[in-house]
Amino acid sequence: MGLFILRRFGVMVLTAICLTFVVFFLTNLYPNLEKLAKTQGNARMTDAEVASWLDRNGYGGPLILRYGEWLGVVPGWTREGPEGEITGRCIDSDTPADIAPTFCGLLQGDLGYSTVSDDEVSNIIGGRLALTGKLMFWAFAVMVPAALIIGVLAGMREGSRMDRSLSTVSIASTATPEYVSGVIFIVLLASSTTGLSPWLSEMGWIEGRTLFLGSARSAMEGITFWNFTLPVMTIALYGMGYIARMTRASMAEVMTAQYIRTARLKGVSFRNIVLKHALRNALIAPFTVIMLQFPWLLTGVVIVETLFNYNGFGWTLVQAASNNDIELLLACSIVAVFVVLVTQLISDIGYVFLNPRIRIS
């Protein structure tokens, strides 16, 4: 088991290196650097000004060396200005040139500097991740129980009317991506001129002008039912259908197994058959699927956070990409690799406990 985890960890480091190198390579293509110079310097700089800006800010050297600087295995660049002032990768207002370290990269725990936010990446990414964590937590808290209940109810009696109607609902929800369902939710529930809200408000059933808020910005300070329902529902709905479909298939299969038939012939009540005999076996497959949902949710939050103006990790990723903020984007990719591989690891380990027939290593 220890060896397995170690090997998984090795894979994770390798994946992170490959991915960050690809991101580094793409963000350092010359047109992207030009864009960076223009967003940082002046939107209407001339080509000569762009070249000099890039050179002065350490984007001039060979790509592989700069990647090494970011990793922390190559000394950070330094440069002496015309008036003798020294600038460099590891030098800023808090650490002047004489005390600045030679290396300052990922290995030294320095995630670098975000050009668009004008701040250290490490200062930014923590708070943003916490916000996304809250969103993910609530999305899971809604999605997983709802999906399991729907799946189990549908799979209990395959082909029944309940199965068909619940299956239809889950297919519909899986087939509706976040950017569609989010917009529909806003129009139906969060507009004071269309949808349900004007009608409800006329009837005097709601106090405010809208049933829910179409912007989750206020949720960053304090989560309420009013401001957080729509983003959570938008994320949860998409994943819910998929998990429910998997649970249903697994449940339906278990319900046709020999031991269930035996139990029925013995006269065990249907309720007990489902709860005591079928459920545990039926939940093995959904467990993996639920863990697989983490990476999917990462893409979901990109859309939902942008749509609802919730400044979390997904929103940061969009900002970093659209502004070619190289080091912020690299940090985002590391986080993404970490989340994907750790959830896979948990899924593999959890599998062993749920199904004793499976051995790893």
Partner: protein, 547 residues
């Protein structure tokens, strides 16, 4: 803020002449105001010269009650050295701490902020700036002529990358060294600065009222105000998260020279999508917009917000670049102009929210605007001309940024060219990459902001070889006439030269410039002095909320 204390000029010989022209009906009231206040006459005096009640900007501004908090929807971009600001939004945040010498009012007049008064000599080669007394920096230092001189020297330094103030300083910059000319900036006494131009120049006042001209402390030129927080304004920045929000609060440790009403101002960044702004307005996330665009103008009005509108010289040009074939052929450019009806661009591009342009980039609200014969639109003639030019088979690729009005306007142009028989291809580029090559696209659309004088725009964009000349336009005759216009204070004379400049631009078919945009802002009914400004300026010192 008690602007009425401003001790400007009561009169000026040239302003007297303008007043006569106004009375003869040769000048509009707005033109009169721009010109006379640019010479240093106070708005009140200017109004009295033409026998109008002094209903200038200061009296139009209500006095809000003290206290309160206001949230403004606006992009929060990273601050930097103010000289290199490229977005009005940056200045709107820093205006809470860094003030300006002079400000441009929505009615077209200029009034002093850190300046008490200013005056130009008769041929506009020498300007005397008198500083407001009793202004202090929030670090305790006095605001003196040394500060102003240091800022002027900083503005003139064209060796600083992205310093757009250097272009606004014109003749003060020595073309050989790239920095301020010797003797151009003179400190006369602690409260007086004299600016000496080698040749007449009328763009000084508009230049130092523009958003990159924020006045920094004499020792802090070239620094980011966010790093030091030193300024003359009544506020301080307590929280600044790019892309998220910026928070200003009234600085309790600073004795501000004027009045500031709000205790707290929060700039809320909701991205670039107006639909997201509207959703957030419904969710009560802010009290006033930075700018409302397109269909959202009607939508914000529909949810009961107060609308404020201002006519401006902000516009879009859809221009071929003459350095690229086939646009080096004047016939092709002429054919393009003949095929496009500005009215259609106005209707489809911005819902008719504006006034018609005449393809020469001088707006009727500009002081030197000269009326030319109306444009002709004739798609058949355009097609004939295109055939004759021999480029009928050329595929005209028109590039635009991916946004609301610029894309729609460019689409309207493309559709009309197609109707006239051109072979057109449209390319839409995302906002994040569009500006990389904006001056060199063969045929593309660009938005241009409002500028106070027609000559300012021509100097910035149409003179041969200047950085922002995206037209690839180079005409020695035009440049010579423009030099001439730059030195003329007299209205009628400059207008005559301008008429020639305008018709040269039309004859050379330099660009399509179909309309002038009206700008809109919406705010809740209780917000005071939140009127739209032609240059998007928000001065947090004036804002207030009704209790």
């Amino acid at each position: 803020m008690t602007k009425t204390q401003t001790q400007g000029l009561a009169s000026h010989p040239v302003a007297e002449m303008y007043a006569r022209e106004y009375k003869d009906g040769k000048l509009s009231r707005r033109e009169f105001l721009v010109r006379s206040t640019a010479l240093g006459v106070t708005a009140a005096a200017a109004y009295s010269m033409i026998g109008a009640t002094p209903a200038a900007a200061e009296t139009m501004r209500a006095t809000p009650p003290m206290g309160g908090s206001l949230r403004i929807q606006m992009e929060v971009r990273a601050l930097k050295d103010p000289r290199t600001y490229d977005w009005s939004q940056m200045a709107n945040v820093s205006r809470g701490i860094l003030e300006y010498l002079i400000e441009y009012n929505a009615d077209g007049s200029f009034s002093g902020v850190l300046l008490d008064s200013w005056e130009a000599n008769e041929d506009a080669t020498q300007y005397t700036l008198r500083l407001r007394e009793g202004v202090k920096w929030n670090n305790g230092d006095d605001f003196t002529a040394e500060d102003v001189a240091a800022n002027f020297i900083g503005w003139c330094d064209s060796t600083v990358e992205g310093n757009s103030m250097a272009a606004r300083m014109g003749g003060l910059v020595d073309p050989d060294t790239g920095v301020a000319r010797d003797g151009a900036i003179e400190v006369v006494d602690p409260l007086t600065v004299r600016i000496n131009y080698p040749a007449p120049d009328i763009t000084l006042v508009p230049g130092i009222a523009d958003y990159p001209s924020a006045v920094q402390h004499r020792d802090l030129i070239g620094t980011n105000p966010l790093d030091h927080g030193v300024g003359t304004g009544a506020y301080r920045i307590t929280d600044y998260e790019v892309g998220v929000q910026a928070r200003l609060e009234k600085n309790p440790d600073h004795d501000y020279w004027g009045e500031a009403y709000l205790d707290e101002v929060i700039f809320v960044d909701l991205g670039q999508d107006p639909a997201a702004w509207f959703a957030a307005a419904e969710a009560d996330e802010f009290d006033m917009t930075y700018e409302t665009v397109g269909e959202f103008v009607d939508l914000f009005a529909a949810i009961g917000w107060t609308q404020s509108e201002v006519t401006t010289a902000a516009t879009v040009v859809i221009r071929p670049n003459q350095n690229t074939a086939p646009y080096d052929n004047p016939m092709v450019r002429k054919a393009i102009q003949l095929a496009v009806d500005p009215q259609v661009c106005l209707d489809l591009g911005i819902n008719g929210q504006g006034t018609l342009g005449e393809h020469h980039h001088v707006c009727p609200i500009h002081p030197e605007y000269a009326e030319l014969p109306p444009l002709t639109v004739d798609p058949d003639a355009a097609n004939a001309m295109l055939q004759e030019s021999g480029h009928a088979d050329h595929v005209f690729e028109i590039v635009s940024i991916d946004d609301d009005y610029r894309r729609n306007t460019t689409d309207a142009v493309a559709a009309q060219l197609r109707d006239a028989g051109f072979n057109v291809e449209r390319t839409v580029i995302p906002g994040s990459t569009f500006w990389n090559d904006w001056t060199t696209y063969p045929f593309s659309s660009t938005n241009w902001n409002h500028r106070e004088l027609g000559v300012i725009i021509h100097n910035l964009a149409y003179r041969s070889g200047v950085a922002w000349n995206e037209f690839g336009y180079s005409n020695p005759e035009f440049d010579a006439l423009l030099d001439q216009a730059n030195g003329i204070l007299d209205a009628e004379a400059r207008s005559e030269v301008m008429a020639q400049l305008e018709s040269i631009l039309q004859e050379d078919a330099v660009t399509l410039q179909p309309y002038w945009r009206s700008l809109f802002r919406h705010h809740k009914a209780e917000v005071i002095n939140a009127d739209m400004h032609p240059k998007f300026e928000i001065n947090v010192h004036y804002l207030g909320v009704e209790a």
